[in-house]
Amino acid sequence: MRVVIAEDLFLLRDGLIRLLEAYGFEVAAAVDNGSDFLAAVRAQPPEVAVVDVRLPPTFTDEGLRAALTARTEFPGLPILVLSQYVEQLYARELLADGAGAVGYLLKDRVFDGAQFTDAVKRVADGGTAMDPEVIARLLARGDTGEGPLARLSPREREVLELMAEGRSNVAIAQRLYVTERAVAKHTAAIFTKLDLQPSDDDNRRVLAVLAYLGR
């Protein structure tokens, strides 16, 4: 699987390359700024891109903006954004085009190589990988008790939370100590309650997550 990496810290870039190669990815390019990243993507769109939010020369949200530009030029280009901190505002901007194939993770998640590469694969396959902290901060807002989300049962909310993190039904079943069929039942109920038309499952999962994050 071809990956393009944009990360300005040499040590982290080096670590990412080694980690991804160890898990069988092919690192097509590893750059340290936004414009080089866009050039690399334009030269040959990768199967997935891993981008740091903060890049030179501005050291602000250069990476995020480069990622959003790449997404408009190549709709649906799978991009996983890494950051030292997570912001709901940025999560929304990434999810805004509704195409899925987006990840937004804290850099700490790199510590667990297996989980991290899992997330990269999920994004490459068109899924989402939202950092648990984004979800946690959403939940910290408490229940405002409005909108279609209020119709979900506590268990369905839990399932939706895990879905937003980007977990598959199997993973959710393991986490909640229930059968996979039970999870499938919950997800079906969630889709119905959120008025999501039957279409392919992946797309509906993304839309459900969007409804969840976009409230």
Partner: protein
């Protein structure tokens, strides 16, 4: 054209009576001022004359020639009464004088369109915290403030020149009413009971007399706006602070805000140092120890070493999380990335309230201003969540007339005060203090029962 002309005429016609009423209002202030002047100057004069008499007596006749029962005793009593009044009456009277001066400044702006700047020294803190000011402190403050003297001079000038000015429209209207209109009405059978002599123009018909009276009244009313403008101009000449006073006050303000800014800065640094010491630093030490233990075990007990390594990894994640929170508290990343507008949007998303953000900025204010505004909004939203009793708020951002204006509004129970009180008063005071370092102001409107609107205004240039 015709309509605008009509409107203009209507406005002039309406402006007359309004201006007249305002002239009457100013006259009321003037009379109050004269009364106050008596209270301020009276006791001083009384004491001075009385003791002057006693002195004269003493010089003329010596101690033996003075008798407490006679003239000297009366003088002594009057002198003591005068001193007593100086002690207890004069400070309050001076405060009253200042209040009148302030009222004249405000009304001159609101009623006459001639705004007058004010430059009062703020009341100093008492030497003993929590106590009222002593007589000496109070008098020092009042008498060393140039504004008090401006106000006193104004009362005197007002009593002579101001009175003469205000009396022009009042006399014209008064003469018209008393000397012409009322007698005219009486002689046609209305207003029987008024004992006013008949008009001084024998031979004229009642209607002519009535019309002359009306002319007087109209002239008086017409003159009122002009008189009012002149009066406000006079007030401005006397009451406007001198450039030096304005500068002195500015220096005082700057010195105070600088001190407060330095204090806040130092306290903030101490907090950060403590957080680092107790948090990330401690975790890194623990991590080092764990890694060391893992190193020792790696040959003898690989399984235990692995467990320790995992523990160290988790500790590093926790240290990172703590550093993240710390950074958020020092300078939030979104603020650095995107500026105040998006940072406020991010705040809105993280707030437990349903927050609507409106407005936008054409550029970015300087970083320190953005930071102050951000933390102020953050604290205001926290206040809403804690005290307002509602779960929704609105934030409006805009830039106009060289200042960043942010309003935080809620439909809660109201009753918030900047000066203190039940609902987070000290918090508002703290925000006010931090904004003051940027010459920013905080305006709180929060009647009991709500709604509450807190607006901050920070003068700055956008880049």
């Amino acid at each position: 054209m015709a309509t605008s002309g009509t409107v203009g005429v209507l406005r002039t016609v309406r402006g007359g009576p309004v201006a007249f009423a305002r002239a009457v209002g100013f006259l009321g202030l003037l009379l109050a001022g004269v009364a106050l002047l008596v209270f301020v100057v009276g006791p001083v004069l009384l004491a001075a004359t009385a003791f002057g008499h006693i002195m004269q007596d003493f010089l003329r006749r010596g101690v033996d020639g003075m008798a407490l029962g006679g003239q000297t005793g009366r003088d002594l009593l009057l002198g003591i009464i005068g001193l007593f009044c100086c002690r207890f009456l004069v400070p309050s009277a001076l405060l009253g004088v200042r209040w009148l001066g302030m009222a004249t400044r405000t009304l001159s702006g609101q009623w006459c369109g001639v705004p007058i700047a004010s430059a009062y020294r703020p009341e100093p803190a008492s030497a003993v915290p929590g106590r009222r000011l002593t007589y000496k402190e109070r008098m020092n403050w009042l008498l060393n403030d140039a504004a008090t003297w401006h106000d006193l001079v104004w009362l005197a000038v007002n009593a002579v020149v101001g009175l003469a000015l205000l009396l022009v429209p009042l006399t014209l209207v008064g003469v018209g009413l008393v000397a012409f209109i009322i007698p005219a009405l009486r002689s046609v059978g209305l207003l029987h009971d008024l004992a006013v002599p008949p008009p001084a123009f024998p031979g004229n018909s009642q209607s002519v007399i009535f019309l002359i009276g009306l002319g007087f009244v109209a002239l008086g009313t017409w003159s009122a706006p002009w008189v009012l403008r002149g009066y406000a101009g006079l007030a401005r000449v006397v009451l406007a602070p001198s450039e030096q006073t304005a500068l002195e006050l500015r220096v005082m303000h700057l010195a105070q805000t600088r001190r407060e800014t330095l204090d806040t800065g130092a306290a903030e640094l101490r907090r950060i140092e403590r957080d680092l010491h107790d948090g990330a630093q401690a975790r890194l030490v623990a991590m080092g120890l764990t890694l060391d233990a893992a190193g020792r075990l790696i040959d003898t007990d690989p399984a235990a070493a692995r467990a320790l390594l995992i523990e160290a990894r988790d500790a590093s994640a926790r240290a990172l999380a703590e550093l993240r929170d710390l950074v958020r508290g020092i300078h939030p990343p979104v603020l650095a990335d995107r500026g105040i507008a998006d940072a406020v949007r991010a705040l809105a998303l993280d707030s437990p309230l349903r927050v609507t953000v409106t407005g936008s900025l054409p550029g970015r204010p300087p970083a320190p201003v953005e930071s102050a505004a951000y933390f102020a909004v953050s604290e205001l939203l926290a206040n809403v969540a804690k005290h307002s009793g509602v779960r929704a708020a609105e934030v409006d951002l805009r830039y106009s007339a060289g200042a960043l204006r942010i309003t935080v509004r809620d439909n809660g129970i109201g009753g918030a005060h900047a000066a203190g009180g039940a609902t987070g008063g000290t918090g508002l005071r703290g925000i006010e203090r931090r904004l003051a370092a940027f010459d920013g102001v905080l305006v709180v409107t929060s009647p009991a029962g709500g709604p509450t609107a807190v607006t901050m205004e920070l003068p700055c240039a956008l880049s």
